[in-house]
């Protein structure tokens, strides 16, 4: 009895483990996403420097740091923050450029995928009707719009 239950648990678990392998991937979901993007990493590092600056400020106010040390350290941290900020901007600019290219490519693709305008050419008299109509504006014959192509 207990042994049977143990086998049942093990079998169910095996199914539970295998189930994700049997599922079908949807577009973009089958690949492991990135943990830390360069932008997020730089932002985080900048936050650390700001935190260091805040600490320095507080310790100075608490009388723990001599004025000359405070000046020097503050300048160092500011320079570090400025460097990180510049790096962030660079990455953002590069990202923006990439995004622009991506957008253009997407737009072109979308354009290509646009279904052509439905055809309202009269099968009887050959008149090209300019608007979606049920009957030909020239001869009055009934029209059936052509099926989408592509």
């Amino acid at each position: 009895m207990e042994l049977g239950i143990t086998f049942l648990i093990a079998g169910s678990l095996a199914l539970f483990v295998m189930l994700p392998l049997l599922s079908r991937d949807q577009e973009g979901q089958g690949v492991l996403p990135v943990d830390v993007t360069p932008t997020a990493d730089l932002k985080r590092r900048r936050l650390v420097v700001y935190e260091n600056l805040q600490d320095l400020e507080f310790e100075y106010k608490a009388g723990k740091i001599a004025p000359e040390d405070y000046e020097a350290l503050r300048n160092n941290y500011r320079a570090e923050a400025a460097g990180l900020m510049a790096a962030s901007l660079e990455v953002e600019r590069a990202d923006a450029g990439e995004a622009l290219i991506e957008r253009e490519v997407a737009a072109r693709r979308a354009e290509r995928r646009q279904p052509p305008a439905p055809d309202y050419r009269c099968p009887k008299c050959g008149f090209e009707n300019p608007l979606p109509v049920k009957f030909c504006g020239e001869c009055g014959a009934a029209l059936r719009p052509a099926k989408k192509k592509g």
């Binding site: 483990v17 392998l21 943990d35 507080f58 001599a66 000359e68």
Partner: protein, 674 residues
């Protein structure tokens, strides 16, 4: 139930092996569904090991002496709470318990990261399950707790079940012994998680400070458990072993201290990487060393290569552990070597007098301590291998080496936090160190005038005052500044100061706990010991205390027989109370043990042992130890525990950091969640 346990172990082993492969393949192919499957294997591993643990506990509680493990380590008269503890009382059960804790940590790591750290997780799972594979294999193939007793008869093998078991080792029948091993194991096992993240960071080349931030709490939790385990072990030794002390530099005690020291070094040096982008290689090395020492400690306890009060019997699992340890070293160091280019420091050390160098010194000293303790611990093994005779290294060696190292560390505990990052000028030093130095000097002069004996105890007290003033000054100055800037009252200011940076102020509280621990250690220098033979009505004078033997009784319960002395204590004619030291004889295991009577106080403990009966006179042998300041060791340990809990509370800064969204947190669809 034995079969249930064995089947569960085999299934767990299969899931672990699958987890190793699926994790690595999923990570390599960047296939989300394969990684999900590997993560689920980690959870399945946990479930199956849990089934095995439940099966063994069932056998123990049911007194199924047909099971070899139960017959060897339990008996029917054992109280239920000790029966539960039988799970980790023997080699086989404790290995299963180790594996179970590993599966809990693994399961938690998977559940808490199922939307985070997607690139790291496949390899984290792989490494966790590789460790799981090793322990589950050892448990199943080499030290299986589900083996059954059988008799060889002329007709063949027949099942055999003794009437009662051998019983739990009497020295383990003590309340802190029920929680000491689980705490210690939670410490040993837990370091596998930060190690796995470090290795995953190396494999994926994500060697910024992400893995450090992710593993901070995963490191603090085992560090805290290991610390608690060590102190509970010391407490057990003090209350049970009856030699008047709590730390004897026993190889197994040392084995637990080693990863704690290395883990302490790691917890400090990661701050340098987070704040300054330095010590990247060093941090990886430290976590490798810490994890290696955890496995080494487990190996030392189980292989039977050292003799110790804790060690399990001689066994054949040693070579397997040796191979596993060699694999850890080879795999991690090769990976580290291959990724050295990604571990370049972002900044340089600006000055020797800075917080960074303070941390670096602290690391060197901690590693020196690791090396010294490790050397003393394995020296008997080396001497046996080279000289074919075992030369034991006793407490004098350890005390000689550890005391100066400990004092240096104590000094840094106070001085380090007062140094500024990058550099500290003489002017800044003067601002921070004037008051602590003056008060420490006053203590030094005062204690010398009071007639203190010994250089080390004197230095300890002086440094304790120095460190305590350094820390309290930090709180005071911070609170005063907040009161000025934010208009808060003192208590509000202290609260906000602490909660704004729980890690720093939690750390200070830990340092205060360490100061109290050192006060307790220093007390050892002033302990005194007296032995006397007593019978009813006899008196024994020890220092200022007068002991009178009221009566000597004896009795029996289902678990043990006992002899008990009832002694009244008076000091300057004033009654202080009664103590009841016992000598017990456990029936199942046929082993005697002393049950110490302790009258603790903040100043000193009165520690009384009924050591036995004098053969010639028939009188009771009473040993009395007066142990000054021991209570501060337990109080200090408790403060360290509280400080660690505080340091784990997320601070405002951390919450801000966490809010920077990772793409992985948004990209994973519900459908693929576990």
């Amino acid at each position: 139930m034995n079969q249930v346990g064995s089947v569960a172990l085999v299934a767990a082993l299969a899931f672990a092996v699958y987890g190793v492969v699926a994790g690595a393949v999923g990570g390599y192919l960047r296939s989300l569904k394969t990684v999900r499957s590997a993560e689920r294997a980690t959870l399945a591993f946990f479930v199956m090991i849990t089934v095995a643990v439940v099966a063994l506990e069932f056998l123990i509680l049911k007194d199924d002496f047909h099971s070899a493990y139960v017959a060897a380590h339990s008996n029917s008269a054992l109280p239920i709470y000790y029966k539960i503890a039988v799970l980790w009382a023997g080699q086989e059960g404790s290995l299963l318990f180790w594996t179970w804790l590993l599966s809990i940590y693994g399961g938690l790591a998977v559940l808490l990261n199922h939307r985070k750290n997607r690139q790291l997780m496949p390899y984290v799972v792989s490494i966790l399950m590789a460790t799981g594979t090793f322990f589950a294999s050892i448990t199943y193939f080499v030290a299986n707790p589900f083996e059954q007793l059988s008799l060889v008869t002329p007709q063949g093998m027949t099942a055999f079940s003794p009437a009662d078991g051998n019983g739990l080792n009497p020295s383990l029948q003590y309340h802190s012994m029920v929680i000491h091993p689980p705490m210690l194991y939670l410490g040993y096992v837990g370091f596998v998680v930060p190690f796995a993240f470090a290795m995953a960071a190396l494999i994926t080349r994500q060697l910024g400070d992400n893995w450090i931030r992710v593993t901070r709490r995963w490191t603090m939790v085992p560090w805290m458990f290991l610390g608690c385990g060590i102190l509970l072990g010391a407490n057990w030794a003090y209350y049970v072993l009856g030699w008047g002390g709590y730390w004897g530099w026993d190889p197994v005690e040392n084995a637990s201290l080693l990863p704690w020291l290395a883990g302490t070094a790691f917890l400090h040096s990661v701050m340098v990487q987070e704040k300054r982008g330095m010590l990247k290689v060093w941090n990886i090395v430290l976590i490798i060393v810490t994890f290696f020492l955890c496995i080494f400690g487990t190996f030392l306890t189980r292989s039977g290569i050292v003799s110790s009060v804790h060690a399990f019997a001689q066994s054949n699992i040693g070579p397997f552990f040796a191979v596993f340890m060699a694999l850890i070293v080879f795999f991690s160091l090769t990976l580290l070597f291959l990724r050295l280019d990604y571990l370049k420091s972002e900044n340089k050390l600006d000055s020797v007098v800075s917080r960074e160098s303070g941390f670096l010194f602290n690391n060197w000293i901690l590693l020196a301590a690791v090396f010294a303790v490790l050397w003393g611990t394995i020296f008997p093994i080396i001497s046996k291998a080279i000289e074919s005779e075992t030369i034991t290294v006793g407490p004098p060696f350890f005390n000689k080496v550890a005391v100066p190292i400990g004092l240096l560390l104590l000094f840094l505990t106070g001085a380090g936090p007062l140094l500024a990052w990058r550099k500290t000028s003489f002017q800044s030093l003067k601002r921070n160190f004037t008051l602590p130095v003056i008060l420490a000097a006053a203590t030094g002069i005062g204690t010398l005038a009071g007639g203190i004996r010994g250089l080390y105890p004197w230095m300890t007290f002086v440094l304790c005052v120095f460190v305590a003033v350094c820390i309290l000054q930090e709180f005071y100055k911070g609170a005063r500044t907040r009161m000025r800037i934010a208009g808060e009252n003192f208590f509000r200011a202290i609260y906000n100061l602490t909660m704004r940076n729980t890690r720093r102020y939690g750390g200070y509280i830990i340092h205060l706990g360490i100061v109290l621990l050192f006060i307790g250690f220093a007390g050892l220098a002033f302990k005194s010991e007296t032995k006397g033979l007593m019978q009813q009505g006899d008196l024994l004078q020890v220092k200022d205390y007068l002991f009178r033997c009221q009566e000597l009784t004896s009795g029996q319960n289902p678990n043990y027989e006992y002899e008990r002395a009832v002694l009244t204590i008076t000091k300057d004619g004033q009654a202080l109370g009664t103590v009841h030291p016992e000598r017990r004889f456990y029936l199942a295991s046929q082993q005697p043990i002393s049950h110490v009577a302790i009258r603790p106080s903040l100043k000193e403990d009165i520690y009384v042992v009924l050591a036995g009966q004098d053969q010639d006179t028939g009188k009771a042998v009473i040993e009395v130890f007066i142990n000054p300041l021991v209570s501060w060791v337990w109080i200090g340990g408790f403060i360290v525990f509280l400080g660690t809990l505080l340091a784990m509370v997320p601070s405002r800064v951390e919450r801000e950091m966490a809010e920077i969204k990772r793409p992985s947190e948004t990209a994973v669809e519900e459908k693929h969640a576990l």
